[in-house]
């Protein structure tokens, strides 16, 4: 395992990239990386240049023998790569802003991975993800693609179904739940064995083992008492419907709020949008990003700045680096990943993507069995998976029937004329990014 590695980052102009660089530098003894290729497109070029410069300063400071390359030539970068991190955002933050605003205009929750926004994001992203995979199949067929491009579950499913690329989908939500549970219990993360199951942004912790005991109800009570350690930093404090969550016997991820507290979420978004200085969530993110890049520009900065931690995707990059190392070194660590179901969650198709706990080997993740879920939780997962699968179909084939049949199932999407109009506006507003629907124009 001593061949030095070539790693490629697609969408390198992301504000998260410094965390990724830091993660790689921290693991310099586990993974010898000769070349790190940063790839971005013209639209993100300015940000990519800032990132590349910062990356070089970080590498220099760490005194590591790793060459940073910056390019718009994706194929050049992919040639013989060992790992590819995909973290691009199709249509940029402008796309996300549009998604949120269109949804809210029609009285729907506007969110980049859920509801109509998740649908729009998938339709913009999946065609590009599949294009990248065609290149991988040709230029580095043995490479592992670590996808943390959102909506991560649907993008992973599209890649698993339509390409031969070895891929794992990642998300910071389960990592945060794991770290949070350790914090609540006051124990080391590696002493916990936490099991996660569901779909991306629709997962539950089903057991939290520590020294032979399942500490789940202890952790759950802390969560209900207001401890928000298990919630990503970018999500403001909130309270769960207490009896509901207690009766589940599982700990829901923060995104379950969209399903367990749908009206509250909508009301909150509407209020935020009306708040003059702030705008919708994507606009808030845009302004945070702007500040981050101002910091990144500083020629004296040669470490990941503290400010990045508030950004929300915290631990994303740590998860990516840990996954690379686990595969590279056959570490057999337990991680929580998006991968092919294959029966891990009974009641879902074998070929769909699920987010489950797995042991990571040099041959990729080997998922643990998910013990039978409570029927009501399974029904929600099955419903949402069907929405996702129909959305993937719509995104790949431009099939409007699949689109509408999927959206109609989604419990946070109202149906009828309002949906038809919102969908039409979504497709029209994204003409440039949704070639699969060009037959509709």
């Amino acid at each position: 395992m001593n061949k030095p590695l070539k790693i490629v980052v697609i969408g390198a102009g992301s504000s998260y990239t410094p965390e990724l660089i830091e993660g790689l530098l921290v693991r310099k003894d586990e993974m010898q990386i000769s070349d790190l290729w940063l790839v971005d497109i013209e639209d993100g070029w300015e940000k990519a240049q800032i990132i590349a410069a910062l990356a070089k300063r970080m590498v220099d400071r760490a005194d590591v023998d790793m060459t940073i390359h910056l390019t718009q030539d994706r194929q050049l970068a992919l040639k013989d790569a060992d790992f590819i991190c995909s973290q691009f955002r199709a249509g940029g933050l402008e796309g996300r802003i549009r998604d949120e605003k269109i949804a809210l205009k029609y009285g729907m929750i506007g969110q980049e991975t859920n509801g109509l926004g998740g649908f729009a994001n998938a339709c913009r992203t999946i065609p590009i993800a599949l294009d990248i995979c065609r290149d991988i199949e040709e230029l580095c067929p043995d490479a592992w693609l670590l996808n943390f491009t959102n909506p991560s579950g649907m993008v992973t499913e599209a890649i698993l179904k339509h390409t031969n690329v070895k891929t794992v989908g990642l998300c910071n939500v389960p990592v945060t739940m794991q770290k949070g549970a350790a914090a609540i219990l006051g124990c080391k993360e590696q002493d916990l064995m936490i099991q996660i199951a569901g779909l991306n942004h629709l997962v539950w912790a089903t057991q939290i083992l520590h020294q032979g005991q399942d500490k789940l109800s202890e952790v759950l009570e802390a969560v209900l008492a207001g401890n928000d350690s298990m919630v990503p930093q970018n999500i403001p404090p909130f309270a769960w419907p207490e009896n509901l969550v207690r009766s589940l016997g599982m700990i829901p991820c923060a995104y379950l709020r969209y399903y367990y507290q749908s009206q509250d979420m909508l009301d909150e978004e509407v209020k935020e949008l009306q708040h003059q200085d702030q705008g919708c969530r994507a606009e808030v993110v845009k302004s945070i990003e702007k500040k981050l890049f101002d910091i990144y520009r500083d020629p004296h900065l040669d470490v990941k700045p503290k400010e990045l931690e508030q950004r929300g995707g915290q631990y994303y990059s740590e998860a990516a680096c840990e996954l690379m190392s686990a595969i590279h070194n056959d570490k057999r660590s337990v991680m929580h990943v998006n991968t092919r179901n294959n029966g891990a969650i009974s009641g879902l198709p074998d070929d769909c993507a699920v987010e489950v706990s797995a042991m990571i080997t040099s041959a990729g993740p080997i998922p643990f069995n998910v013990a039978p879920l409570p029927t009501d939780t399974l029904r929600l997962i099955q419903l949402m998976k069907e929405f996702e699968t129909l959305t993937v179909k719509a995104a790949v084939e431009g099939d409007m029937n699949a689109a509408i049949r999927g959206l109609i199932l989604n419990p946070i999407v109202p149906t009828g004329h309002v949906l038809e109009q919102a969908l039409a506006e979504t497709i029209e507003a994204n003409r440039a990014y949704m070639p699969q629907f060009s037959h509709l124009h």
Copy 2:
């Protein structure tokens, strides 16, 4: 088969009863009925007396040897009965008005069998239905209970799970679909073989066979072109989302509007409620009922009056009479009934109630197999069945966790604080009818 029959009607003060009487009189050669017992409670006594008097005039006119009994003593009536028709409304129309108004107050669809209203109705009705069944188990264990008390699917499931009573749940929706399809095709109803599958008020016609051909798409196109023959008379004209329904390859029942056009339905209900003269749907029904009883009172009336046909539940009673005759005479006719699933719809528990097509024998319904449904439709059915099963559990055991977990799944129920408040108000407003929740007060 020549022993004369004893038939009992529970909730006899219903405005539908004259249709039931007519149906029995029309079938006098198929079923010899010596005694028809009309049962109601003190609250409905005035209406029951009007009905009983009309029933006697109808029997006299028909010159049939059938004695009409009117009583509040349910056990006296049930002793050695052959068939029981259950059509009571727990809490009366006042209860339904409350359900609709509470739901609408909280921005939810208010409807007697769907959403929060369906939940409330189930919680009021199921305890009484089970009480009646205890009497049946003791007094007439071989009798068939024909349930058309709403919510018919959940009531039937409660009876199937918690009693030994032989029961079949009935609804006029599939009958109307069958008659409507025949009208559209211009053929005799008995020449059609229509297959229906799903849950009560959540069914689809999956095939419409005529002379060796499946005419479903022909009928579907007529429906999409505006032919509303398949829709019960009390539902005003509406248009389906055309592409969606066409792509299903099945014909949804009218109640699917609550799922395929949820926002439109809510908007419509809000508008109706604001319309000064009219009030909510239940208030409209109340005023129709009042007019009907004014007509029934007429001592010269000795037939079912025409006006009853606009009432909405048209064909309910016809279905009941036909079912009684089919069982009594081992007719082997095809009807669409609520019965134990037992694998008829794959993907649902064996012990739940489903609404499917069946051949009716003297041993009750033998359901046809339901060919695999499109996955998205199955997912919706599975979700709604889970809502129903949790609601039945809540209704029987007073389990608030089951209640909230069920409601949270229901796609036409918003979640969060609004749901908690609406649920609390529902239970408070129904204190007198929901003893199972008395521990909450």
Copy 3:
């Protein structure tokens, strides 16, 4: 429904054909048949001519306006046909004799539809059945193919999977069970509603309804007490393992002896074979057939002779005629047929053939749901279906891995060297009839 029908019989030289003719003549008022085409190949020509001559005498005697055609030109016969009865025997009785003797030589049960013999028969028959279906697809695509060529279940599955022909598989076993149950109960057949489930030659009666009661245990006790009315006439008297069958709560068809009494069946076959005058079962059948054709030759014979009834396949042809009439007249009678599973038996693939009770309409059979079977019975059915499905694959694709993997599952087939040798000898001995395995020679 008044267009006169064209009916084609493939394998018309069968000794059963006179029963079929009789069945058609008896139903002359239900089905007006203008042309009956008898088709056979050169090898069976002498027998076919005898049958054709007898058929003409029978038609003349019945004074029915139906033209009998005899031909070796299958395509001429099929052109614009309405119904096709397939009853050919690939390789003739000589093939069956070979099957039985090879199996017995290797210490295995030798039988035309079970074990190694069933496999051999399927491999000889399915390629021809598919050839016939290619002709049907071209020459009479709307025709119904009634298959009673053995092994009926596997042949039906091959046709369902590999052609677009509308087909129903038939067998006399369920008919005999139904008639036998009526005889035991002393009631009319049409007053019984008997439900049958499983695979061809592997079915159980699961309920026997009469006047609202399930009489199954009454019938079962009669069977265990020695009443053999439910067993085809060609099967000699035998006793079931009493406790086993009683505990099943279902009545097994006679062929279940091969699974419930495997050693006894083998011992019996070995004894029969050693009996000098008699030979194996197929040789007995051959000698019966010879006598029958001697009778058929008699130019004075113009009815179905009594002797035919001992032949074993009794009611086969009656079932075929009744099925034709039920389809032609949309009779909605209940019959027991081999058809696509589609979920009727939970736990089997949708696309496999099962033998179940169905209502027969002009669009073909609509199967009843099969209530969940006892798990042990389901396991046997699942195992045998997998054997069948692998055998169909072997027969269609010449896939030797499928062949061996299927045979290894079959509980009446010993495995190891003995199986490898027996299989090799089977394929070698059938070179002329198994072109799909020509790559092995």
Copy 4:
């Protein structure tokens, strides 16, 4: 983790016990054991005394501070135990000899875990195992029970279903497969990730990962070429049916010979039995055991003797020690264990025992998901599991219907009179050990 452990061995007079002692001594740094309690019954007392004396000598030599206790008082031994190793043989080798001879007398394979012998062994063993568990529930409810009493799968299932004891079933077969695969590949065992799935003595290796590659077909070809490293030492060399096994794409465990080569196995057993000097397998084992105990008696022996390795159960005890250490130290090593299915193998009940690969934590095994098996293999597993489940029911409840219905499914058991007689003789010959069937006498 520093409380010294109390370990109990039930059936300590087993000839394997020295291997267990050695395993514990080797792991003295991982597990500090203060007390090792050896328990046996009067019938095995002489052997138990020999073992205890040898154990003391081994402990002395290793200079470890561990007290050896020998007792017939099981409850005294169990009080506050941490781990219990169950390795008793109900009825002793005499029982096994009887099983093998009765089966062979009736022309059946005679084997201690398969077919009729497995059934008999289960019926003798399960009542005792459950008795032990009642003691554990009372005296050391937190202890882990490591079961390697045969038939390990059925005994584990009985314990899982009928007690609250934390248990894991173990077998040396998967361990041997893992070690053999490493030997074939010439790599370290810990560098392999081998996945095993099925039931006890009915497992397949489904993948053999090494450095990111699945080496299964390489290993499979070595196996087919005659490399017997994956086969336990006590099983003589044999050749698999080559095409069959190659087409599986999985490596079967040696016991699959009973299903893939049933006639060969029977012939071999019959031949062995007829061989004058040798007797049946159990008699061979008895004579090996006699020699081993002669060696153990030697007061100078203070290590595990070499001769033990030919005994057959090699690695059993190593697996037990490794499992104890993995639980005690939360090692998260991958082992292959019998545990509750819970969906790990789709198509089997949640509550049955399966043999699968799992990560071992301080809370016990967390099974990996088993990717969907080929349908034919699944069918065999489902069938055999049903045999096992019915056998467990028969063993626990004395239910003869369950017994016969289970045995009839078993593909290596012939059915009919021969089975009824063999079963009756089995129960009669085991009167003293099968109290559950006392109602039959």
